[in-house]
Symmetry: C2
Subunit: 121 residues, 2 copies
């Protein structure tokens, strides 16, 4: 079980939102599901991050009332805060993916067993 740090959390959350609007709890479940249970993003990591994304204008938000089945229309049920990727958010996701790919290839230069550094002459 890998608890995601902010960098990876951002990439993964934006990726999930690229599939369509969602909300904190569902995003958390989606991350666990799509990583086959390997990734975990807890509430204390999720909500501050989501707030940050909102402040940065990468997502737009709206509240939705969650009605219980056959519930009294007057009663105020649970609330969900929906997050929708903005155009700016889409661009930022592309940048994050690009940065991630570069990091990958650079790390590979250290980790892959090619050993082509130093004077090969």
């Amino acid at each position: 079980m890998i608890t995601l740090k902010q960098d990876h959390s951002t990439l993964v959350v934006l990726s999930v939102l690229a599939d369509g609007p969602s909300y904190g709890y569902a995003i958390s479940k989606a991350i666990a599901a799509r990583s086959e249970g390997h990734f975990k993003l807890t509430a204390s990591g999720m909500y501050p991050l989501l707030t940050k994304l909102e402040k940065q204008g990468l997502v737009t938000t709206s509240w939705e009332e969650v009605k219980a089945e056959g519930a009294d229309p007057e009663s105020s049920g649970r609330k969900r805060k929906w997050y929708d990727l903005s155009p700016k958010g889409h661009k930022q996701l592309a940048k994050h993916i690009e940065a991630h790919r570069q990091m990958q290839s650079l790390i590979d230069a250290f980790v892959s067993p090619t050993t082509t550094h130093g004077t090969t002459a």
Copy 2:
């Protein structure tokens, strides 16, 4: 110019040391060189990390006197602290590489455009 965080720093420093013993300043230069100038690990990131690796028993250390060209043998020149990967360090490097590869493939499930999540039935 990407300044490495602790996780990546650890992987990269252990990788550099896998090629043979080195010391802080040289490791820093090696990281810049092998990443073609993209990675930076500053002194304030390097030395605390090296100390940590030493405490964890992943590296062994020794001091060496750096003699100036044709210097008075009596004068005490600069000192270098050498770091040598221990057997435990080698194992830890292997684990870090493994963890990195797993992280890569898991992140790819979010980032690559295959979109095979959700109910495809």
